[in-house]
């Protein structure tokens, strides 16, 4: 089933049920910047351990994209 999600205001077509992190990684490698040294970070461990892929999903910050399944209508803001 195809889903449409919104990433930083732009519509993105995706497959429902796959990890959000996969959709974001295929689109843009950098998902956020670090607080201490303002450097880009992207998906790293891919299995919920490293917390490098944190994004905001439907207004909730600090969500690990790698273990979040894509749902139709999801709104994602990169950090």
């Amino acid at each position: 089933m195809t889903a449409t999600i919104t990433v930083d205001g732009e519509p993105v077509a995706a497959v429902a049920g796959i990890p959000l992190g996969a959709v974001l990684h295929a689109r843009t490698l950098a998902l956020r910047r670090t607080a201490r040294d303002d450097r880009p970070r992207g998906l790293f461990c891919g299995m919920g351990v490293c917390f490098d892929c944190l994004v905001t999903v439907d207004g909730r910050p600090g969500v690990r994209a790698c273990i979040t399944a894509v749902r139709d209508g999801m709104t994602v803001t990169l950090g």
Partner: protein, 469 residues
């Protein structure tokens, strides 16, 4: 509105990979009430990960075997809780997890910990750049979503998982610009393999994958740097000398890449067993710190707590399934179930487990990371990804007297971030106690062992943990 659910179980199994599924099934077959909990949205763990239904058409014998194991567990009456991330386990065997609906609390009579393993990656210059990802991550992207880690990829590190992820990357459409394995082919490895005919076909297939898939392959080489400003654009590779040192003078650059997949094997995920106070020991070739478990039935040093699979030392899926089955039976017996399989059947399982472990141990020893990984990070290299703490900061703390991962954490915040050292503790131990990382110890996690929303804690407090004594 967050809801709180509460259940009691004869046996609670943490982790729904091959070990956890086997444990849950074996326990349920004795008539025990079994709850199986996993943080991921589908069961199977890493080895048996199930592709999204919507992708279709990507079934393999491996995913089918996983699907059958999951179906068997459900048919046996096990309560399966997915998307349930355990953030607390109390000494009286109450388990609290956050779920999409709210909070789940399970009071168990016995627990089987089958929490698996995660990539162990030494810090090296450039490893925080977007596009540098672990072998486990690349495998999940390919298998769960059909997404390639990059269009032009370097695969680097060491061990039997490297050809596996290379095959998955090819399947997802990536070009393998280079395959960089730190070990050289070794006659001893072939002699070992010769004793296990049942593994020949698998080994030959993996060797063929590397030979045909990669534009170039380097054995006895190591990636020293990931290069780029906003993402990885190139890597530096260098040969390892016979004495194990890095021959930087002979380094080469591989340019025009958009992903570096790095895999140095896996570390046991010991946060639950260390939270419960189980005894652990250090075995470099089994991934580092691992939970001590009785080889016969998975019993740990803590009463009513059993462990099976990679958490007891990285050994692969077959030993995990056999150990899971034995631990599930023992946990059910511990919870008072008497209808357990007869002694001869358990003895047969133990003999199969011994043979499976005997295959893996020499392989692990041969594939242990070379000493040179300790020389990769520069003083300016970030070692703690969460708190952006550099190797220089950790080195300085160690010069002032921090000689353990705990000391380095209190001095520098390294290991204090959201990952609680799961990524960096391996590297930090090697800085704090050069040549003898076991001496640096490991972090005892604190509750919550995973970040948890306050609304979920509130829901747990309302009905959940108040059930306790």
């Amino acid at each position: 509105m967050m809801r709180a659910a509460f259940a009691t179980a004869d046996v609670a199994v943490l982790g729904a990979g091959p070990a956890g599924l086997a444990a849950a099934l074996a326990a349920a077959q004795t008539g025990a009430g079994v709850h199986l909990i996993d943080a991921q949205s589908s069961a199977g763990g890493q080895y048996w990960m199930q592709p999204a239904a919507a992708l279709g058409g990507t079934r393999t014998p491996q995913t089918r075997a996983g699907a059958a194991a999951i179906a068997a567990v459900r048919a046996a009456g096990v309560s399966v809780h997915l998307d349930a991330e355990v953030w607390a386990v109390f000494p009286d065997l109450r388990i609290v997890a956050g779920t999409p609906e709210g909070s789940l609390e399970i009071a168990a009579r016995a627990i089987v910990v089958a929490t698996g393993a995660h990539d162990r990656v030494p810090a090296f210059p450039g490893w925080t750049l977007p596009g540098v990802i672990t072998a486990g991550a690349a495998q999940r992207l390919a298998k769960l979503a059909g997404v390639r880690a990059g269009s032009r990829v370097v695969v680097a590190g060491s061990g039997p998982f490297l050809p596996v992820v290379t095959r998955a990357l090819r399947g997802a459409g990536a070009t393998i610009a280079a395959y960089v394995e730190a070990q050289r082919p070794h006659a001893g490895l072939l002699a070992h393999l010769a004793r296990y005919p049942e593994r020949w076909r698998e080994a030959a297939g993996l060797a063929r994958t590397v030979a045909t898939a990669a534009e170039r392959a380097h054995f006895g080489w190591i990636v020293t740097d990931a290069l780029g400003s906003e993402r990885v654009e190139a890597v530096r590779i260098a040969p390892l000398a016979r004495d194990g040192s890095i021959e930087r003078a002979r380094a080469q650059t591989i340019a025009s890449i958009d992903a570096l997949v790095v895999g140095w094997g896996f570390r046991p995920s010991i946060d639950v067993t260390s939270l419960l106070g189980c005894a652990h020991s250090y075995d470099e070739s089994a991934g580092g710190w691992r939970c001590d478990a009785d080889a016969a039935d998975g019993r740990t040093s803590v009463p009513h707590v059993f462990a099976a699979g990679e958490v007891t030392g990285v050994a692969g899926a077959l030993p995990a399934r056999l150990a899971g089955r034995l631990a599930g039976i023992a946990a059910a017996a511990d919870a008072g179930r008497t209808a357990i399989p007869p002694a001869p059947e358990r003895a047969r399982l133990r003999r199969r487990l011994e043979r499976a472990r005997a295959f893996v141990a020499p392989l692990n020893a041969r594939c242990a990371p070379p000493r040179a990984i300790d020389d990769l990070a520069a003083e300016t290299t970030i070692v703690c990804r969460c708190e952006s703490v550099t190797k220089g900061e950790v080195t300085a703390a160690c010069a002032e007297g921090a000689t353990s991962v705990l000391g380095a954490k209190l001095w520098t915040r390294a290991g204090m971030g959201r990952c609680q050292g799961r990524m960096c503790a391996w590297t930090i131990a090697r800085i704090a106690a050069p040549g003898d990382p076991a001496r640096a110890g490991y972090n005892r996690p604190r509750i919550p062992i995973r970040p948890v929303a306050l609304s979920i804690v509130a829901a747990a407090l309302e009905t959940g943990v108040s059930h306790g004594p």
